[in-house]
Symmetry: C3
Subunit: 252 residues, 3 copies
Amino acid sequence: MSLTPAQLHTVQTLRQRAPLVHNLTSATVANFTANALLALGASPAMVESPDEIPGFVALADALSVNLGSLTPVRIAAIELAVQAARHSGTPWVLDPVGAGGIAGRTRFAQAMAQRGPAAIRGNASEILGMMGDGGGGRGVDSGALSEAALDAAGRLARQSGAIVAVTGAVDYVTDGVQVDAIPLGHPMMTRVTGMGCAASAIVAACLAVQPDRMQAVVHALTLTGLAGARAAAVSAGPGSLAVAYLDALAAL
Amino acid sequence: MSLTPAQLHTVQTLRQRAPLVHNLTSATVANFTANALLALGASPAMVESPDEIPGFVALADALSVNLGSLTPVRIAAIELAVQAARHSGTPWVLDPVGAGGIAGRTRFAQAMAQRGPAAIRGNASEILGMMGDGGGGRGVDSGALSEAALDAAGRLARQSGAIVAVTGAVDYVTDGVQVDAIPLGHPMMTRVTGMGCAASAIVAACLAVQPDRMQAVVHALTLTGLAGARAAAVSAGPGSLAVAYLDALAAL
Amino acid sequence: MSLTPAQLHTVQTLRQRAPLVHNLTSATVANFTANALLALGASPAMVESPDEIPGFVALADALSVNLGSLTPVRIAAIELAVQAARHSGTPWVLDPVGAGGIAGRTRFAQAMAQRGPAAIRGNASEILGMMGDGGGGRGVDSGALSEAALDAAGRLARQSGAIVAVTGAVDYVTDGVQVDAIPLGHPMMTRVTGMGCAASAIVAACLAVQPDRMQAVVHALTLTGLAGARAAAVSAGPGSLAVAYLDALAAL
């Protein structure tokens, strides 16, 4: 499989413009997220200070909000960043890590979904959890196939106005009416922490350069899926996969 | 060297059950720790928020408490998590990073050792430091051979009721009476940050699936030692080693 | 290109003494920074707690202060650490990440420059930004060639008393009078997060073993440049580069 002309155009535009993608994310995945954005050609930033966030979001081309290892300090930072993004019209992505598994996390993810994200990306448990459908997720690993969350994803898209993506062996992207499927997931990708988080940041990067939001999310997940599949094909295990994935993003 | 049938059984059980291992650890090693757990087949979580910890520990199969880059915020999180683990009977591991090198850190590690950890894993300086034997550690790197801390490890095991492991060129595991030795350490492993921290998390994962605590710790350190030795044999340096280590954990 | 006898002497001394380098840095780059120091032969520490910093800095051989993802908590930690370093005469390095891009960050970097750092290392945008020359940096990525900041670097060196390094395709090092150029930068190095941050930590490590500060900074950037160039020559992309860079630092 290779990129369509439209997908190639998104990659090329992204490399020309090097959009500044501001990330509010966990310490666990911050390095991998920054490296994935850099490998693809975007410019990552991880500004965390309440003093700096409002001004910085106005400067950024997109914002990625990740709920992994959420703390009260990061909740406050997210509130500030989302308010600033709404004010400046900066597209932002919600990654509801752990929704469905922890009650308070679920409620915060639900509240954030009503604040106008351009896109929401999660695994099946998280998307089911956000719609109260009890996905049974215990943490960041999904206990369910992405198909199982397709109905919940459609409802979430209609409620929130966001493009919703459920990632797994097959990634599904929906605006609440149409559904696109990207069948590029590889089991070895589930054994590397932060693959989903990096994908959300890449969704944000694509939203910065592709005004059609549905296309932006589909292109982003095609890029990450293709890089993951190419990396898995040459990797001996999850350690090699993470390295080859960054190389593959740069080589797209 | 290869795995014994009992060790293989631990690995297989771990992969079937994918125990949820909750980690309270430093930003420096969080990514590598999560990736090591995923590579082996466990399910990592790094929940940090005081609001989420008590509920999450009750859900987790094991807890790993790491004192690296300790902050007042993490001390409070650890107190909550250990209290919850004691209440739910969840096995937990103490990794006393920096004990013996920093006075306050040593005292906190000593206090935690009295709170019922299933196991304690440290290098020689840290185990000596916890027993007031002055290991001379300046940070996380051990200035002493693991043999030198064998007596301190035995006393610590008898005082705390924990299985105590001192890792180094030879890893020693003791319950205060018996001692097992695992001679798999490789010098190159000391040049990758977080190898010991990841080993502690893997001890926690094995405690979740192997009820005999002495066996659980010995199996965990055999798995990490074997993966490290296999990785070192094919690595050009510490960068490659960290990658190959994750591949080797997945291939065990 | 290979190392001069003086540069080789710095590496050998560093490996013999394994200087303890204390880092106050962001979660994004903490792991890579620690691994770069370990690969070269230094001993990293990332002590963050206000209770532990003063005592620990007195124990350390050098301190690296990095403003990436600056938070109020880290500002307080940096203030404590710099005060302790001045008291004990411990050499410290300032890495003004994001200066020129964020007003408050610029002011803090300028204030820190007046507190007696042994060296300051930044990219062109950051060094221009510190001197109010408007480098146009939006984040950590430099929008300018290192040459463009040469005049600003000289002024900053004379004002602060620090050795100032501007890194890029060519790294420049100046004490405000003399300038040394190290033409080893590779474009692929700009696609790995934390390469500059790790270089600053390695500058700190070299300052711990080489009393001539100008030589220490030039040696550090020659080591990192050479490792980067050798790594780039054998790497398929930025993922491989980060791994090969650590291997190359260990093989110097």
